[in-house]
Amino acid sequence: MADSRHHAAVAAPAATHVVVKDVAKGYPGVRALAPIAFSVQPGERLALAGPSGSGKTTLLYLLAGLLQPDAGQLCIDGRDLAEMRPGRELARLVGMVHQQYDLVSSLPVLHNVLAGRLGQWSLAGSALSLIWPRERHLAEEALARLGIADKASQRTSRLSGGEQQRVAIARLMLQSPRIILADEPVSSLDPALAEEMMRLLVDLVEGSGKTLIASLHSPYLIKKYCTRVIGLRQGEMQFDLPAADLTEAVLDRLYDLDRRRPENGAIRQE
């Protein structure tokens, strides 16, 4: 029943678009996000830039349904995020790659990849799959596409950083959400792996009308892989530009304003 309703939504014209309506979020004693508003069209690849503490993670967690806004509204496909059921429904719309990929290191790779299906499987099916893996072919196809088909039965903690990154991507491929969020997906990677990660993420969304929203600091990567960039500073939107228009000067201003210069003795009092 819930399923047929959902299929109707999927069959509708590719109207996945994200509307952030005057969303604010604070933590005790901290204003993490001033009311900000923007919308994202299907197929856009949006970069979030900004210094540490500017609210990038907070914004992504709000979009992922991991946090609830204090004020304002987040809508996807015209529907309020707060009204969606967290598992099944939301997981089809929004998925996330985390900074350290956040795999369950003690499980075999296969189960980490199949975890992308947990939103769709029944509880009994999820439990049994740990013994008799379900939809194994999906996981194997994804791993093969990423070039690590031979790692399926390995313990995840044994994999290199680059391989783990692909396992996280494979999990996302099985989840197949229409909006992909990525929180600093390249921050701990060497330049080659960083480019590979961006390539994989862009491959996931390109041509399928899916949307990517990623926090990124490198102007080079933003220009190369994104279509649009929003600059955040202390929870406020500083600029919203096509990625092609991003200049070093704009980015320097975004980060410089908050830079702490020890030589000036201007280490801010917290």
Partner: protein, 236 residues
Amino acid sequence: MDWGGSLIHSGGGGAARTFFLALFPPDLSPEFLRISLAATWPTLAYAVAGMTVAVLIGLPLGILASGTVISVPRLRWPVALASRFSLGGMRAIHELVWAVLFVAAFGLSPLVAVLALGIPYGGILGRIYSELLHDVPPEPLRALRTAGASPVRQLLYGRIPLALPDMVGYTFYRFECAIRSAAIMSFVGIQGLGYQLQLSLNDLLFRQVWTLLLFMLVLVVLVDQWSSLVRRKLAS
């Protein structure tokens, strides 16, 4: 204060010397080895059965007590508190006291030993399980959550796999303790190494005592070896 007379009574020195001299050699006659083996069996069996009961009690209650699986907030904490409270009650009472109570209720039977071990050990295991399950790193769980996994699925795919090596390690450690506890169940008249030990001590057959202690030692060492084998397998 004058401790002298009361701590070491006059004949004590002589008895101690006899005891230590009599340690060597232990009684390794086939006949007594057979008796020792026969006494080892119930001790091991009670320990294994008791630990099985303990895991069956500790795992479900530990999961509920961790407050991580019930998604309805109104239910979560009452259930967690009730589980914690019952686990606390089970381990507040020593296994020998449980044994005395059960002997009074059911008379001497193997079931008494198993329950008397299983209940307090279940209380201990449940407490530790709940803490281990609660304290796994949050990042992998958050990732499972954004993949659409409910709290129970997060338990199956995140919390349990992440906590399992520690849970197994601690269970084996408790298994060693259970062997010792099973042995001293003889104080309420239950068969096993402890019972045989008491008989030999009463008859001042110290060489037999030494043999029985050796059996105890071997048992604990074997469990320890088994434990490291299992943990190595889990870690690979």
